[in-house]
């Protein structure tokens, strides 16, 4: 028991939780706004991969770290546009299109990487984002190392939680996005374009997802590996439901998942001698499913989610 307490009281545990949560925060914010507009974006797993690859490669080619982040966002936006065209004006199945985008984006990323670097055996490294040293805050006892020794991208993710929340709930644009995911006829009857709103939101949401991928190659690690996204996109889809489509709850969900993950790594070293390691690897996923079951049963879905809208149709 005291072992567990030791884990929870260590500052590096909380720092790890926040670090693990960062890509999920980007991803869940992106998935959340897409779904708020009524479009499920299962392209997320592939968009993560594309963002990871594109951001890393841009930085490796000398675009600079922030240049890489921008390239990642643009790559995500491009795949988002593809998904948006297929699902909004064409009204195709959002599930099928999303899975298609995931397969396409993942394969294209691997292909581009292999084509650019045909002969390397160990992935080339870049000079990744370093933890910021914030005056005063970083030096606080416990809180400093726990919360304030993160890279710029983590702080960007936290800022985006606030920004997305503000846009959704405090601006006319956010109101229109929430309305278009609930009843597109209401939006059209008020003279707004359902198509423009949905497509714009999916493109923006996909750019956010790609930042989650960029975090992996440019902050958490400093290189690109095959399979490195490893289901994080799918976790974001689940977290979106867990969060009831609210940015604040999305942050909590991502942090919980990060904490579970950080916890299992540490628990493994404590009691790993007599419990197989795979059990611990499953732990965050099992807990996510359990949390989802508890929360999602009451979830208030955006009512027009998954429903294509055609103007003038009865």
């Amino acid at each position: 028991m005291s072992d567990i307490l030791d884990i929870l009281l260590a500052a590096n545990f909380w720092a790890a939780a926040l670090r693990i949560a960062t890509p999920l925060i980007f991803g869940v914010l992106g998935a959340l706004i897409c779904e708020r507009a009524g479009v499920l974006n299962l392209g997320i797993e592939g968009i993560f991969t594309a963002g990871a690859m594109a951001g890393w490669m841009a930085a490796w080619l000398g675009a600079g770290l922030w240049g890489g982040v921008l390239v990642a966002a643009l790559a995500g936006a491009a795949f988002g546009l593809l998904h948006a065209i297929l699902t909004v004006p064409l009204g195709l199945s959002q599930h099928v299109s999303g899975i298609g985008v995931t397969l396409f984006a993942t394969s294209l990323s691997y292909y581009t990487y292999r084509t650019a670097l045909p002969d390397v055996s160990s992935p080339p490294r870049i000079e990744a984002f370093q933890p910021l040293d914030i005056p005063i805050l970083s030096d606080l006892p416990f809180l400093g190392p726990a919360l304030f020794q993160q890279t710029a991208l983590t702080f960007l993710a936290l800022a985006l939680v606030v920004a997305v929340g503000f846009v959704l709930y405090r601006t006319p644009l956010g109101l229109a996005i929430r309305a278009v995911g609930d009843n597109p006829s209401a939006v059209e009857a008020q003279g707004l374009s359902v198509m423009a709103l949905r497509m714009g939101t999916v493109v923006a949401g996909s750019a956010l997802m790609a930042l989650g991928g960029a975090f992996l190659t440019m902050s958490a690690f400093d290189a690109f590996f095959f399979g490195m996204v490893n289901g994080r996109g799918w976790i974001c889809i689940a977290l979106t439901v867990f969060a009831s489509w609210r940015p604040g709850k999305a942050l909590i969900g991502a942090l919980l998942f990060g904490a579970f993950d950080a916890f299992q790594v540490r628990l493994q070293t404590e009691v790993g001698s007599f419990v197989p390691g795979q059990i611990f690897l499953m732990l965050p996923y099992i807990l996510s499913i359990a949390a989802l079951v508890v929360v999602a049963r009451k979830a208030d879905y955006p009512r027009a989610l998954l429903k294509p809208y055609f103007k003038g149709q009865r």
Binding site: T171, P172, R178, A179, D182, N183, G191
Partner: protein, 516 residues
Amino acid sequence: MTVPEEAPPIALSLSGITKRFGALTANEGVDLDLRRGEIVALLGENGAGKTTLMNILFGHYVADEGEVRVAGPDGTLVPLEPGSPHAALEAGIGMVHQHFTLAENLTTFENIVLGTAPLLSARLAARAAREKLQELMRRSGLVVDLDARISRLSVGEKQRVEILKALYRDARVLVLDEPTAVLTPQESETLFETLKALAAQGLAIVFISHKLAEVLAASDRIAVLRLGRKVADLPAADCDRQTLAELMVGHQVTMSRREPQAAGEVLLALSAVTCGEGRDTVSDIGFELRAGEILGIAGVSGNGQAMLARLLSGLERQTSGDIRLAGREIRAHDAADMIRAGVARIPEDRHRDGVVGAMSVAENLVIEEIRSSRYQRFGFLDFRAIADRAVEAIASYDIRCPGGSAVARLLSGGNIQKIVLARTLDASPSVVLAAQPSRGLDIGATGDVHRRLLEARGRGAGVILISEDLDELFALSDRIAVIHRGRLSPPRPAEELDRAAVGLMMAGQHTEDAAA
């Protein structure tokens, strides 16, 4: 306010509006002028083109020919850009759709201000908007809770939100599509009072309806549409029900009359049948249905008649009791068996249970007989036979649609009901189960339904008519029973009953006496 000496200025002018959907002409050369402060009723049967006309006005559809002109703030008429709801809103046209266009998860306030501020402005100007709304609510008497979620509001409240939405945008013309279809009689009365008050403040109002009584009571002028053309445009004071009904339908309207006729042998017998749990149940029900009679089952919705209909449709199985169809005991719930046994089913929710919306009119017409050799060749569907059947049914039942290949979902309720009638009654069933068969239909379609049911009776079929409408029940039924909380009173000849007594029994009074 000054009293106008001459006719008030025109607020809206439609001229020569024509709209075609494929082979179907929804509107043809329709002219309509609307003056400030005037309430105009647009009257017509289902499918007469009323909603299409208003959707053109609001920019949901683009007219093939013709022009819409709207008075600007200075009173001059300017052409309205077609096909743009945004332009219509800008021009001061507000529309209250029959199916509300409200986002249920948002609040009243959010629904009203949606789209009124530039999307990229930094904040919702909430305080100014609220002040304006408070003032509007005070002036119009349309009071709603601004911070309530739409999903929590009643239908009447939702409609008030829709009207406020239009007023908030400074609408000078208000269009309401079948505004009373979903309202209780009291709510309708309140609505029309509000509309009159708004018209007195200078608003020009058009409302679409097929209910003669409310059109006569609430409007200043009545425009009648028939088959897409305007056939009359009269001051309401010069109209009466009979002339309006004939203008709408295009021929003399005579209510179908039931001729006395001796009932034959027992076709269907229920004894002590119990089924279901909770609200929608039937308990200990018994009656006999004879050939050549219409048995009316009166009752307020939700008293078990839906369960009774499902039971007799073969969609449910009784927990106890006995159902005999032509002397044969019915045990399993088996819809196909009921159809083979000659039970024609006209379901209550015709859109959901009456047709497969995504399939064509022709397919829906033959769907119950698809196993019969009539529509098969060598085990495959015989499309020619199916298409021929569709042509014949469309003609004999007057189904208004572009053709047999039209998608059923896109038809009006009355035409969907005609598909159901054609499918079920043409096979000369011995028992007809009609659940709320004329609910939501206009005069013409209701008359068709009644005529077909009486024809079935005349052929010697037994008809069970489940209805809430006393006019309908007394016009058609030989005997009437009342269902209340799952219990059925013994059927009595309609001649021995009066409307007031049946009304009271529907409300749960005297059921004990009647059952005794």
